[in-house]
Symmetry: C2
Subunit: 199 residues, 2 copies
DNA sequence: GTCTATACGTCGATAGAC
DNA sequence: GTCTATCGACGTATAGAC
């Protein structure tokens, strides 16, 4: 990375976020130093403090932005109001996969670095996560009520389905034998079956 | 923790492993210092190096022992040879849940601290994990072959089911509204349905 | 906006007394 | 088997020059 000169504030701010995301995901928040991040950005460590009050705020901002992005992306998705629970569930599964897969680093951080947040910051992120889980839970509850789904417990099913879907990030790489469309169909099939819906 | 005097080697060794497990799980390997661990054990930091050559070996030993424990527990489980794929799958799900739930710290470490292993140590742990995943994959393949299961892809299903089951560790606490037996039944139901098996 | 220099603490690991 | 003392490196964060 070459040194910069002159005014680069906006660009540096963006590069800082990107470098921190990559390094935190790869090595973990606690194992990454501000000096490492600065080296990646191409500035000295002290200059980073023009863009973040401290390292903790940097982590929190990355996680908070990620959670806000998810919720906003869901609100503004293409299909605003599917009719049946089964269509809504399909819509959710596709959304989850398509949103999470291209953001492997952000997803990884948001799951792995929860324990490195201060209690106050932790609560904010957890609250956003609960909001997201509630989206799926509402779908399952509605489908359960009208007989579309046959679940023993909708709350457990919410956790199970999200864990199953997010787990894809740990193994899927675009270069493998399966295209994104194929994987999407495979997970759709398993989720609908797990929910007790006929296909 | 009270100070010790006299010969306590064996006891200290065990306490070291326990303290490291708890602290690594709670705060992360990189964020925990040898001094913290020593304080928990009740000795000075230097004394820890009688029991481990360095911090990395300590992490690896914990993870390796955990993986070996899983594999040995599976080999020596009560039901040595179930007949049908469906019974074998039920057996696996019950085993996974019953083994992982009481070992929340070890499971957490084994998933979260992979990136803090040296490449050589990482390969050892990954190999053990693949061995474990192959157990489930064999069951799914056999059931697929004889028509018991209806899966689009048994490899993806292996990842999906393990992620779903292990995800339980992130939310289940014994004090909630659901007993272990109930949760086991809920997950059994979802796994069998996801595999396309009739109940 | 970025640099250099630095304060000050803590880290992993070792040496040698007991 | 454990202690105290210590080494050299590195951590976050700040101050002040340019």
């Amino acid at each position: 990375m070459a040194r910069k000169s002159g005014s680069n504030g906006e660009k540096t701010a963006k590069e800082l976020r990107k470098a921190a995301t990559v390094l935190f995901a790869k090595n973990g928040y606690a194992a990454v130093s501000m000096r490492q991040i600065a080296r990646e950005v191409g500035v000295q460590a002290g200059a980073l403090y023009l863009y973040t009050p401290d390292k903790q705020a940097l982590l929190f901002d990355l996680m908070d932005e990620h959670m806000q992005d998810i919720l906003q992306a869901w609100e503004g998705r293409a299909q605003p109001h599917a009719i049946t629970p089964i269509e809504r569930l399909k819509c959710f599964v596709r959304f989850h996969i398509r949103f999470h897969l291209p953001r492997a680093d952000e997803v990884f951080i948001s799951y792995m670095e929860l324990r490195n947040l201060t209690p106050e910051n932790f609560e904010v992120i957890q609250s956003a996560r609960r909001t997201y889980e509630a989206i799926l839970h509402d779908i399952l509850s509605d489908g359960q009520a009208d007989g579309t789904f046959k679940l023993v417990d909708t709350k457990v099913a919410t956790f199970a389905i999200i864990a199953m879907l997010t787990g894809m990030n740990t193994w899927y790489r675009g270069e493998g034998r399966l295209s994104l469309d194929m994987v999407e169909d495979i997970y759709l099939d398993m989720v609908l079956s797990a929910a007790g819906a006929k296909r």
